[in-house]
Amino acid sequence: MATSVRMSAPPPTGARALLLRLRNGDEVARLITLAFACIILLVTVGLIYQLWSTSALPRHKFGFGFLTSSQWNPVTGEFGAVPFIYGTVVTSLIALLIAVPLGVGAAIFLAELAPPRISSTFTFFIELLAAVPSVIYGLLAFFALVPLMRDYVEPFLRKTMGFLPVFSGTIFGLGYLTAGVILAIMTLPFIISISREALLEVPTEQREAALALGATRWESTWQAVVPYARLGIFGSVFLGLARALGETMAVTMVIGNDPKVHESMFALGYSIAAIIANEFSEATTDLHVQSLVLLGLVLFLLTIVINALARLLIIATARRGSS
């Protein structure tokens, strides 16, 4: 008897269910926003596919030799990536060498020492620094930094440390070192603001424990707080590195555009982004254009690996900070 009683209509299935859900609008809204989300997916996949397919010619002709050859001669059709990878990596490393100590120091000051008002004002200014377009950095570097490096900084370095091969040779003002310095200024705001956030995540107990054991303020900061936030700080460094690697305009304007590998940091060089900016619209042969696209692909792969590392490290600290 009880089995014959129907409690309610069975839930609609299949097409009828979809129609019902469509009628109240939620499904429509979901599908529309889903379509837009798919655009992001399509663009990214399309970008990778495009880079891969339009660089087929040099990939087949040179193979991995592209990455080990240092010849770049559009006239004879020889293309190798070494001078550009070298220039990109060297300028970025110079940038980090300057920006990391300065940035971490500033972040420590903003997170640990400065009164909240000063800290937030400074942070505001530093975020504005991050918003300055790269062509403006290039403009300033070209007219202000280049003469400064040529007349004062580089002669000084050559006089004091000229016995090192990296600080010897002709001084132009343009070159690896100048490009590295302007990149340092450009990456500094990223390193400061993310390191600062990582330091702010450190629990107060960490500081109190160190101070209670008799540590000075600096010892507590350097031995208890900074190590705790180190993953986030490393993350900020990698993020700065990724930005420096892909930076185009400022570097193009001051690196000197010489497609060779030089030991001296005063020498003229070239970077991946700079050669694409300079030669892409003027390249005439397919092989030349596609070699530039292949360089773009190399740059792309380099930055996504560094970016992924950065994000993993930042996520790792955020997790630990909250637990």
């Binding site: 939620d26 655009i39 970008l47 300065l102 971490v104 020492l113 790269s134 290039g138 305009m249 930055t303």
Partner: protein
């Protein structure tokens, strides 16, 4: 006090002061940049800058009216494509996203965000410039839109997810459907944050140069959207590297105008965000 303790105290003072010096150096850089640019830009700017077209090499005088108009055209195009797409994708990520697919979209957006802008330029060149047989404002707008989309999507998502769940539950409990809840409760609650993200995104693309070099190109005239179009950042690049003093002067003027616009947009965006505390973290 033992010698060792005195040393530890001194070290502490020295190192802590050094961190302060680092912070001051970083902030001073901003003011140096601003000061130097305004000093040089102010000496160089005149009415011709805003009212005259640029002149080809060899002729003195002229202004940057075409580049100013061109920049606005390109940015408007980029905004018209980038903001709606980014916003809707952000809504999907915040409200409708499941686990795996949303993760994938988020990952791809972050990946796209990290792509060097010059590489975006290569892509836009292949997708728009090659089929259209030439540089155009459309191609430039497309390239900048690709940069704007992931920025807008992620910031929209971030501010929508920070709207308290209780607000959504309240609306749903009153019988509103989900999309109505989003449109009338969640988005209004997060709109300051969303607007901030959008303004910051537009300010970011306004200064982008690398993706425009071989997409929108350069021109001394004001052309239609399908023709090569001058823009302020590209103009700064070419004028600064030219051998003419008159062109250097114009580069400084353009640099000042561009920097002031970008910084004003940034300050405005932050003021919008800080005035409304409707979004709690």
């Amino acid at each position: 006090m033992t010698l060792r303790n005195r040393w530890r105290k001194t070290l502490s003072y020295v190192m802590l002061s050094l961190t302060g010096v680092c912070a001051v150096v970083a902030v001073a850089t901003l003011f140096l940049i601003l000061g130097y640019l305004v000093y040089n830009g102010w000496r160089s700017i005149d009415w011709n800058f805003f009212t005259q077209l640029s002149k080809p090499a060899g002729e003195t005088g002229g202004g940057m009216k075409n580049a100013i108009v061109g920049s606005f055209q390109i940015i408007l195009l980029a905004t018209a494509i980038g903001l709606p797409v980014g916003f809707m994708a952000g809504v999907y990520l915040a409200e409708f996203g499941g686990k795996t697919f949303a993760f994938l979209v988020r990952y791809m957006a972050d990946l796209l965000n990290g792509v060097p802008s010059i590489v975006i330029g290569i892509f836009a060149y292949a997708v728009v410039v090659v089929p259209m047989h030439g540089n155009s404002a459309v191609a430039g707008g497309f390239a900048l839109a690709l940069i704007l989309i992931p920025i807008t999507a992620r910031s929209t998502e971030q501010f929508m997810t920070s709207v308290p769940e209780t607000l959504r539950e309240g609306a749903l409990a009153l019988g509103a459907s989900k999309w109505r809840t989003i449109a009338t409760v969640v988005v209004p609650a997060a709109y300051r944050g969303i607007a901030t993200g959008m303004i910051l995104g537009v300010a970011r693309i306004a200064g982008e140069t690398a993706p425009l070099l071989f997409t929108s190109g350069s021109s001394d005239n004001m052309n239609g959207l399908g023709q090569p179009t001058a823009s302020l950042p590209v103009m700064i690049f070419y004028r600064a590297l030219s051998p003419y003093d008159d062109w250097h002067r114009q580069a400084w003027a353009a640099g000042m105008v561009l920097l002031l616009l970008v910084l004003l947009a940034n300050i405005a965006a932050r003021m919008i965000l800080s005035r409304g505390i409707s979004v709690q973290k």
